[in-house]
Symmetry: C2
Subunit: 248 residues, 2 copies
DNA sequence: AGTAGAAGTTAGGCATACCGAAACCATACT
DNA sequence: AGTATGGTTTCGGTATGCCTAACTTCTACT
């Protein structure tokens, strides 16, 4: 009798550059499904266009992306799976730094960016266990499970909300530490109840009320700020609705 | 009035290879003061001799080592300082992994090896604080302070002890995880009281008694094991005597 | 002192990942 | 349809850090 081994889980050693490319491609698609272009990739990675062309060719050779010359870049299932594991690493690390080492949420991004390439799977697993298998990070971003499944909260960019809409802040972009410090100061945090009051004329600030009852406060938010905040309608809360699973 | 700025603390970005070379050079000298040769360096780093020649030239250009062709390699004060900061990182990480993430002492070395190049100074500082500024790691190796000062325990290799000597185990080489698991199994750990009973003839095993009173147990230790264990005479214990400070 | 073999260095190459400049393609506008 | 414009790729080149193979220097033994 012949026993068939499960297809060897090819542990292709991926360089940290490859990991970064794949992660950025994924991140671009996470909240709306448009493939990313070379130039956008180059901008986000801070490299020259030519470097992207070259690297994309390598990624394609490794089966991580689909790409036709002069068109946008898309992750394959394999690429998606690698990306999800990097996102998982990043977000678990951010959560860990905040909860266990007293980092503030504006400090964690860069540190996690470096660590995610260095830690072992064992480290990730121990961290995950110690944190109690959290489902979202300090900025509200969902943490993919070890099997690659993600639960996306049903959220909309605050900047796209019509006056009258209300809900809770479920996600805050972590790309600008400045902004995070500002929000901290104003005590605008994750899960804060929020309601869009109106919009100042001529593309002006978005007026929102944070909190309820007597503790409510009104803010004029610039486009930059309201772009960075995501709101879920009351009730659907901590993260439900869409569950998307990616095969490995 | 002119204010003189302190000489800018040149934050030369050192690559992880440079860090590894410097660390290995330092480690070789830590317990006895002989400079390391190219071939020894190559062996410990797992690279070809030619790679070492090349890299040593670069290290010399950067002022991290002194080196004359065909002779041994020595750290400069600057190199020593970099090495100490890497050793500090490594040992703090090992301690952290054991105490906070439940690693066993045979698992930590490789993980720390990777992390030490990735974590920030901030991370190190937070870890150090959380651990209560420990002075030695899980294997008994002294952890250099942030200012580069190290307190070396007055210890001798067990393999070089004469029968009749007694003391406590203060350091256990962490280079062989196998060996660490063996010692764990035999419940031979850090700070265990120990006494050399004798030596089997013809370069045979070293016979030692671990523990005292009724709990004492005798072991035959091979050269390999007794080489890896360091013993301090009773009394001088956890780490005192030699304090060596290196200027930054 | 002479020389063999070990130890160390130099020379030429490879892989990764980046760059700027030049060539190329696609689209959108007249 | 014809072309300008901008996005994309290709082409040489750079820097690191590693390799093997060939060569040089040192050392220790006869």
């Amino acid at each position: 009798m012949v026993t068939v081994k499960p297809a060897a889980v090819k542990p292709t050693p991926t360089s940290s550059s490859v990991e970064d490319y794949v992660k950025v491609i994924y991140a671009f698609t996470e909240w709306q499904d448009k493939p990313i272009t070379s130039t956008q990739l180059a901008t986000r990675l801070g490299v020259a266009n030519s470097s992207v062309s070259e690297m994309v060719r390598k990624l394609k050779d490794q089966g991580l992306v689909d790409h036709q010359p002069y068109s946008a870049v898309r992750l394959t299932a394999e690429g998606q799976s690698l990306a999800l594991s990097m996102v998982r690493r990043h977000r678990l690390l951010e959560t860990y730094l905040v909860q266990e080492l007293g980092y503030s949420w504006d400090e964690v991004h860069d540190e996690a960016e470096l660590l995610e390439h260095a830690v072992s799977d064992t480290f990730i697993e121990r961290m995950d266990a110690k944190l109690g298998r959290p489902s979202r990070d300090p900025h509200g971003d969902p943490i993919p499970a070890a099997d690659g499944s993600v639960t996306m909260p049903a959220a909309h960019r605050m900047s796209q909300l019509d006056p009258g809409h209300s809900g809770r802040i479920t996600r805050i972009s972590d790309h600008d530490p400045e902004l995070l410090r500002y929000l901290d100061q104003q005590r605008i945090g994750l899960d804060a109840p929020i309601r869009v009051q109106g919009r100042k004329p001529f593309g002006g600030a978005l007026v929102v009320r944070v909190g309820t009852g007597p503790a409510a406060r009104d803010f004029d938010l610039t486009e930059e700020v309201s772009e960075a905040l995501w709101v879920s309608p009351e009730g659907t809360h901590p993260g439900c609705t869409l569950t998307r699973t990616t095969l490995t």
